[in-house]
Symmetry: C2
Subunit: 361 residues, 2 copies
């Protein structure tokens, strides 16, 4: 490779059409449902007897990600996975992905290539076809959006709204780790701003940092459910924190829920680092978000199939009366509140005070 | 309505979940293919025997639109229509739309409502269901993306790649008007910056300004083709200018094309205003873009059906030899170049010099 070729190249070098070709020329089609991918006005798909699932998400620099600690390849991977998660939350399989990128002229071709490498890696691992997208200029920063298309057998479709009284509430994996990963990255960033020669050693925090930078979507859970012939009565992915998602399910279903503090799965590393930050790990699990685990409800008849399966926690049950509550270790009943992303600023101030959830009885 | 209610409200007032409800609570579902719209992790669609079409576009403030002259309602309408156009270009019908909005905190709820009113109006006029989307914060400015889903009977699908030698090249409507509309708006903006009391009278330019601010997609052309039992051999929508689109068709099909200067449809107002700006209207038609007309090729057997139909212009034909050429009124043969959006800066410098297209014979 000549010296010339090693130089970082501005995005403008290739022009709009050249850029799209550069980024997408090695994309392969894997799924029989993809009839025509990138290269025409629209992608062509064929699903026949399946129901089609479609979801979309947008992520903006400085709000959803910070390029000072988020490698572009991880960002591409995360954009894809976060979108896949929405389809798994409907009990479906992901088949196609469309990716839009808006970038200012400070981004080089190499940077976009790195980003796209992450998207392609996620597509490969999850068996998804990249079938479209748009690459445009932005005035400032990087803006991403993706649309994901998948399918599900009609009788296996799981909405948020199907939970019934006495259904068990189950969560996959563990919660709060992604939020603590973010706290670690922010702390390192602050140290770096003071001392740019500081070399962070993130090894002790590998699990938490990976949960933040390179989350996985729970395709395996959907496959496990199918194999064990369980169709959840409702399901949602945990993007905004457990509290929000429990409330989404109870409100959509028209019932309430009790979840139990001592049943909420928290990783030992999350526990330990929460202490370091003087945070209550429970708050990270309830309001942290970005875990991309699945929260679902099952009929009691399926209890035997799931009760001792590692990686699943039965955290509570659906109640006839409306309202979603946390039952603490001291047997207090606290009403859950939907915090979502917006509450993060307040949350950081409030830290681990027990009145973070309002007491009702 | 109390004084309190009339105040402009910051977007943060409602929070993420409240905002989505506020913007989407009056959305109605029109199409039988939409099983479940906004409100779950993904929309659910059912298409059975049809092929599904999916496309996506991103638009960023300061690059694709300028809010100093683009009313938000028009912007919402345009975002939708520009996306619809991609589906019509495949000879399909649009059924669902997903809309993502990223806005900085300078935007009020009223502004977002105005934007969404435009999206809903377009959805209503074109018979499309809004089934999903994301509303997020951005560091700066407004960023939009939309994904459109539609369907087509397998045997009626039209790609860019099906043109054959001697097929006729047809264009709907007229070209170059949207580009001149943009020039008028920019001129008014400059006058306004010098004299903020200046009241622009855009009445004489109504047609051109509307073509820029509130374009329409040619659903009617797709319907006309179906009614007259014409399946074009190839089709594309004119978003980047006629030159680009002719080249996309010829390259995808593996043939060439001749188009004739005196056949290219230009509206009298486009002609007149081009003179005012010392621009060659032909250049506006070839490289202006944003007309959202359809360019398609048909087999000669369909010539009789279309030859005298108002609103269609037969502008040329496909050639066995590769390369796309403009034949001028003086019978010169000029090679067409794909300019797209990126070329606009150069284009403005070059104005109407005849060497804008490179001469080859």
């Amino acid at each position: 490779m000549s010296e010339e070729n090693k130089k970082l190249r501005p995005v403008s070098e290739l022009g709009e059409f050249g850029l799209i070709k550069f980024l997408t020329n090695d994309i392969q089609i894997r799924n029989a449902t993809t009839i025509l991918g990138i290269g025409d006005d629209a992608a062509v798909l064929e699903y026949k007897d399946k129901q089609i699932l479609a979801g979309t998400d947008m992520m903006t620099e400085g709000v959803h990600f910070d390029l000072t600690y988020m490698p572009l390849k991880h960002l591409g991977y995360k954009l894809a996975v976060v979108n896949f998660s929405d389809i798994y939350a409907m009990n479906g399989m992901v088949e196609q992905l469309l990716v839009n990128i808006g970038v200012s002229n400070r981004f080089t071709l190499e940077a976009l290539d790195e980003f796209y490498t992450g998207v392609k890696l996620a597509a490969e691992r999850y068996g998804v076809d990249i079938v479209g997208g748009d690459t445009v200029s932005s005035q400032k920063g990087m803006i991403l959006s993706a649309t994901v298309i998948g399918s599900v057998d009609k009788e296996k479709l799981v909405k948020r709204s199907g939970a019934k009284p006495n259904d068990l509430m189950v969560v996959s994996g563990d919660l709060g780790a992604a939020y603590l990963g973010l706290q670690i990255l922010r702390r390192e960033q602050e140290v770096f701003l003071v001392n740019p020669n500081h070399q962070p050693d993130l090894t002790p925090y590998a699990y938490l940092v990976e949960r933040q930078l390179k989350p996985e979507a729970r395709k395996d859970v959907v496959e496990w459910l199918a194999k064990n012939e369980i169709v959840p009565t409702s399901m949602i992915d945990i993007s905004d924190g457990l509290s929000s998602e429990v409330i989404h399910i109870t409100e959509a279903s028209g019932y309430g829920a009790y979840i139990y503090e001592d049943k909420i799965p928290v990783h030992p590393e999350t526990e330990a680092v929460a202490k370091e930050f003087n945070l209550n790990p429970l708050i990270a699990a309830l309001n942290g978000g970005e875990d991309y685990e699945l929260l679902f409800t099952i009929d009691q008849k399926d209890y035997e199939k799931i009760k001792n399966v590692p990686g699943f926690s039965i955290i509570g049950h659906i109640t006839e009366d409306e309202g979603a509550y946390l039952i603490t270790g001291l047997n207090e009943k606290l009403e859950l509140k939907a915090q979502g992303w917006n509450a993060f600023l307040e949350r950081k101030k409030a830290k681990d005070k027990p009145d973070d959830t309002s007491k009702t009885s």
